[in-house]
Amino acid sequence: MMQERTINALVLAGFVLLPIWALATDEPFTITLATRTVLLALAAVGLNIALGIGGLVSLGHAVFFGLGGYAMGILAFHAQSFTPLELGPLTIAGTKSMPIIWLCAIVVSALAAFVIGLLSLRTTGVYFIMITLAFGQMFFFFSISWSAYGGEDGLSIWVRNSFPGLNTLIPIQFFGLCFAALCLALFIHWRLRASPFGLTLNAARQNPARVEAVGLSPIRLKLLAFVISGAITGLAGALFADLNRFVSPTMFSWQLSGELIVLIVIGGVGRLMGPVIGAAVFVALEHLLGGLTDFWHIWLGVILLVIVLFSRGGIIGALTGKAGPHV
């Protein structure tokens, strides 16, 4: 049985070495695939804070991914068409600057997560899943009908946004940026999990009555976890849109919310690297099997089934022989 630490180090090393190898052998598409993996992982690391630590099975995290995407799309669209964004009395100039776009994506997703969380956290279990799904569908259909920003067709951004000091058009540089964001999110998850907040949140998942009995409010803890979670997934959305230079309502689709959950379950719920391993498996299958058959999701389903039936702790659980971070 392997130590979880060893697995984590190996995975991170893989994410550093693969693009370097791709660069050396001149395979830019592999770098793009790695970037896609990193961004799906980032979105799922966000969800893992709510789902893995807080036990909040959100089937609406695509909302934040989509909001991040549209934050980028709308700002960049106004910049490339040289028209300011009119928000009532406010007139905002569009921008192609990544740091500003990220900030907007994070703030917008965090606000949305606050409102959605406030309403959804009154419920638990299946009702929570359904209400978050309902919010997801609301955003999905809204984006479809919002013709100013492409409606169903989505928005194309001609040139990737810029980051001071980097040329983001070069795949390896953009990958570096995304990987840095992932590492930061993982670091946040790691510190958060061990902190008093993380310990309390993790206990609130297992036994909310106990958390109340020691004088703390499980709902408030979960709400904050949901906001942090939404903000990270929103950032992932902004970067993902930049990777494709395209935003469309599919970023709001419930299938995407479902995929994020699947990634976490495959890798290991609540495990630091669970979402990263899940994303790697997902993109590898999509790429390798997707070339052979359009129905590659069947094999993803088989893998998911095997994991759920035989390894409660996902791939990390199977490798370490421990179903949870402790047990």
Binding site: P196, L199, R210, V211, A213
Partner: protein
């Protein structure tokens, strides 16, 4: 007599036609163990839930140190100084023993909004957590996963978590539940020493423990307190014998 630490005044709660709590007024004085006994279905758990905040009474009030806490939620009542233990152990089963008591210490500090320093490396939290574990005699099991503890150890941990809160009053719902004779004896000895730290409102089925510990006993039958008094008074009470012990006098 001194001012009661915890007091209920005319608490009433009905579920439809059933009067689960019928005009209950009890008090808990500093330094005492006040036991509440009564047959199954007498409304003991309903009463506890109204004191600790899970249920709202239809009328009456709950006072802690003279302050009306009837309108506070469960967590606020705990902040105000109610240290509760559950009939069925309510613990974070996947976590270690230390993490569980640390949760209590975090609750006591009322500062869960700290996101950066590891909880288990916080000196103050650790001191408080370890002190509570030492007091109940669980310090050898700090790193054990809670789900691997024996039933008796879980009961000890349950009490340790209430200790970390440094409450003004303990409300204990059957701390002896499921303990064997040995365990009951050990827990009885432990609770005996605890009353000086804070008074205990003790709901208990185990009569040996009640008679060994209680300074006063209240008898709850069909939601109503039919008698309150010292052990001897309760033993001598004809009404109690009739209602509770099912004997005709």
């Amino acid at each position: 007599m001194s001012e009661p630490v915890l007091e209920t005044r005319n608490l009433s709660k009905s579920f439809g036609a059933l009067k689960a709590t019928d005009d209950v007024s009890i008090d808990l004085i500093a330094g005492e163990i006040h036991a509440i006994i009564g047959p199954n279905g007498a409304g003991k758990s309903t009463l506890i839930a109204q004191i600790c905040g899970g249920l709202t009474p239809q009328s009456g009030s709950v006072l802690l140190n003279g302050r009306d806490i009837s309108n506070l939620g469960t967590s606020e009542r705990a902040q105000a100084g109610l240290g509760r233990t559950f009939q069925i152990s309510a613990l974070a089963m996947e976590d270690t023993v230390l993490e569980n008591v640390t949760l209590g210490a975090i609750g006591q500090s009322a500062r869960p909004w700290r996101f950066w320093t590891p909880a288990l490396k916080d000196y103050e939290l650790k001191q408080r957590a370890m002190a509570a574990l030492d007091q109940v005699g669980l310090s050898a099991a700090v790193d054990q996963i809670t789900s691997t503890l024996s039933h008796g150890q879980r009961r000890q941990l349950e009490v340790a978590m209430a200790l970390t809160l440094e409450p003004r009053a303990f409300v204990m719902d059957e701390p002896m539940a499921g303990l064997g004779a040995e365990g009951s004896k050990a827990m009885t000895g432990f609770l005996d020493g605890l009353r000086d730290q804070a008074p205990i409102l003790l709901v208990e089925h185990d009569m040996d423990a009640v008679f060994a510990l209680a300074d006063r006993i209240s008898v709850l039958v069909y939601g109503r307190i039919i008698a309150t008094g010292t052990i001897d008074e309760i033993r001598a009470s004809g009404e109690v014998k009739k209602a509770y012990l099912g004997e005709t006098v």
